[in-house]
Symmetry: C2
Subunit: 337 residues, 2 copies
DNA sequence: GCAAAAATGTAGAACGCTACACGTAGAACA
DNA sequence: TGTTCTACGTGTAGCGTTCTACATTTTTGC
């Protein structure tokens, strides 16, 4: 079945560079890694040959001995534009380095993580990993690891970068209270897989209680399936006890909430105010004009990358970076009455 | 600066498997690649050892001699959820294979493509590449290549998978005509970088002409920048010659169009109908209820992957796969009057 | 039953790079 | 002038695979 592939233009190797520059292979390698013991003259000579031949080191070969200069990013999903922000942050951190990021997507990180380790990634960033600390430590024992959006720090042998999701939950409630809302419901995720959700729920609860609204705490949980979400929102908004505000655990759900509300003839924010989370581009975008909690994905990505490279360079104690969220107020939660 | 990294749990190598199974390294390699000349007994023995030791071949090492079983996907952008559909298609094509996809994002494919070649990807899928055929052929000479969303087939030494964008443009216009709209404008992209846009514009023009609306052909071009898009849309909708329908080159722009229209107090579809392109999940989603041209990203991804693997396996002539788009009608373009 | 053919397994040389261990030469020191 | 440093280059042994030869065993054909 497998025929011979057509002849491909062959690669320039370090050997050819060496012979072109009239030096040893080892010398070229030194220049490549800017290792100690290289004179300016030699560097220049080698550099010239590399440029001339358009030489590029082969990552797999490097990986066999040293590094591949490749970082792996594991996203849980590609549909949420919030992840694009994180990615942008990663890339800006990588700008002046020799590292390159490769991404993969998978709900259960496991198999993808293995694939990335097989491919000699120098380090991994897991975004919103749905994994136990035990499992994460297991990975961390094999490859430098940073988790974004993981709040369990006990015994962590990896770094974390987090938005303060608990504070985020609080801010949402506080903001809605300030704008005169009282019956604030929260739309959360069924089977809360991530510690992120737990923190947001906790923040919601705590702030509701502190605001003296403990009695009207109302967490509604929906799965990721669109139909289900719509159904549950409809039930919530048609019920006799309709909330006058909904805090949604992510912008995407918030858009859906707006959608269902409008469909039911309710006006926003007069009848029901909506607040989302992530402050994705789409908040600005559509008529949604959605108030949202900004967790600055770009900062998350940037810090995670910084920590990861530190770790690759040898740091072995764990660091945990926290970003403070903030409310970005838009029309969807404007002052009631 | 660079300290010694902490001791990592070492990898199981093919050598250890071989010694555990009491066979040669070559034998294990044969089993791994299911090459010719392996008895059932040997296979079983080796398989057992591999399972027992939890062995996983190292891609970089394989790459040095043969394949890495890694495919590279190059996306122009991560924000458009349409790309998630393509990705899903790729993954479903990969399901029962030993290949794994890694993604990268970059507007100008160039540097990312080089990085992927450096990392020994067995093949590349470029999505909406903003490159000349010359450049693409150049890449194709070095690595098996498939382009999704590239309409220039002259001399192509790579495969392409395309939605029939010209037909898509036609369908949009035809649909709007059938629903009684006449002054149909098209919102396109400034500096049309991709052949995709050209085809959609062409389809729009041709169908307008055939419908006898050649006189009201009106292509408005906006850059990718949100502010600009809003400005241009506002100008278009406030002008004395307001169109009664807008065909937008992508859903994201269509949402923006809806947004601006609503802001201006226009109702959709009575005052102005909107049609998008891509049929992203968000069409169903928000109150947008956006009519869109479906180009089935999943099929595109699946076919591209299929072609790519064929090419890796040795096919050298080019193939070009075309998917037929279809209109998915929703509220945003309902019958006028 | 014997030669030829087919099937099965093994040795060992790459693949392109890194990094350790040296060799050498000039500078600094006494 | 000899000796010790230091800076700079080089030789070469791997890293974990694949894959071409080749050696050995088993099967087949007559």
């Amino acid at each position: 079945m497998t025929k011979k592939a057509p002849a491909r233009t062959p690669r320039i190797t370090i050997r050819e560079v060496a012979s072109d520059a009239g030096v040893s292979v080892a010398a070229v390698s030194k220049v490549l890694r800017d290792a100690y013991g290289v004179s300016d003259a030699l560097r220049a000579k080698v550099q010239a040959s590399m440029d001339k031949l358009n030489y590029r080191p082969l990552a797999s070969a490097r990986g066999l001995r040293g590094r591949t200069y490749t970082l792996g990013l594991v996203f849980p999903d590609l549909r949420n534009p919030f992840f694009a922000d994180i990615f942008a942050g990663v890339n800006s951190a990588l700008e002046r380095t020799r590292y390159q990021a490769m991404q993969g997507v998978s709900v259960s990180a496991s198999s993808l993580v293995e694939a990335m380790i097989d491919r000699q990634m120098d380090g991994l960033v897991l975004i919103g990993p749905n994994e136990t600390n035990e499992r994460l430590n297991d990975i961390a024992d094999r490859v430098p690891l940073v988790a974004i959006g993981h709040h369990d720090l006990t015994d962590a042998r990896f770094d974390t970068v987090n938005n303060d999701d608990q504070l985020g939950g609080r801010l949402a409630v506080r903001h809605l209270c300030q704008n005169g809302h009282k019956k604030i419901a929260m739309l959360s995720l069924a089977a809360p897989v991530s510690t992120v959700i737990n923190q947001r729920e906790l923040g919601y609860r705590l702030e509701m209680t502190e605001q003296g609204l403990g009695g009207s705490i109302n967490i509604v949980r929906a799965p990721q399936v669109l139909r289900e979400v719509q159904l549950i929102l409809r039930r919530l908004l048609e019920g006799k006890d309709r909330p006058d505000a909904i805090f949604c655990w992510t912008d995407l759900m918030a858009f859906e909430a707006i959608s269902v509300a409008v469909e039911l003839g309710l006006s926003i924010p007069e009848d029901v105010a909506i607040v989302g989370y992530d402050n994705t581009v789409f908040c600005e975008f559509s008529q949604n004009r959605l108030t949202s909690i900004d967790q600055s994905g770009e900062v998350l990505g940037l810090q995670a990358t910084r920590l990861l490279i530190e770790r690759i360079d040898g740091r072995s104690h764990s660091e945990h970076f926290v970003v403070t969220p903030r409310v970005v107020a838009r029309a969807s939660s404007a002052k009631a009455g």
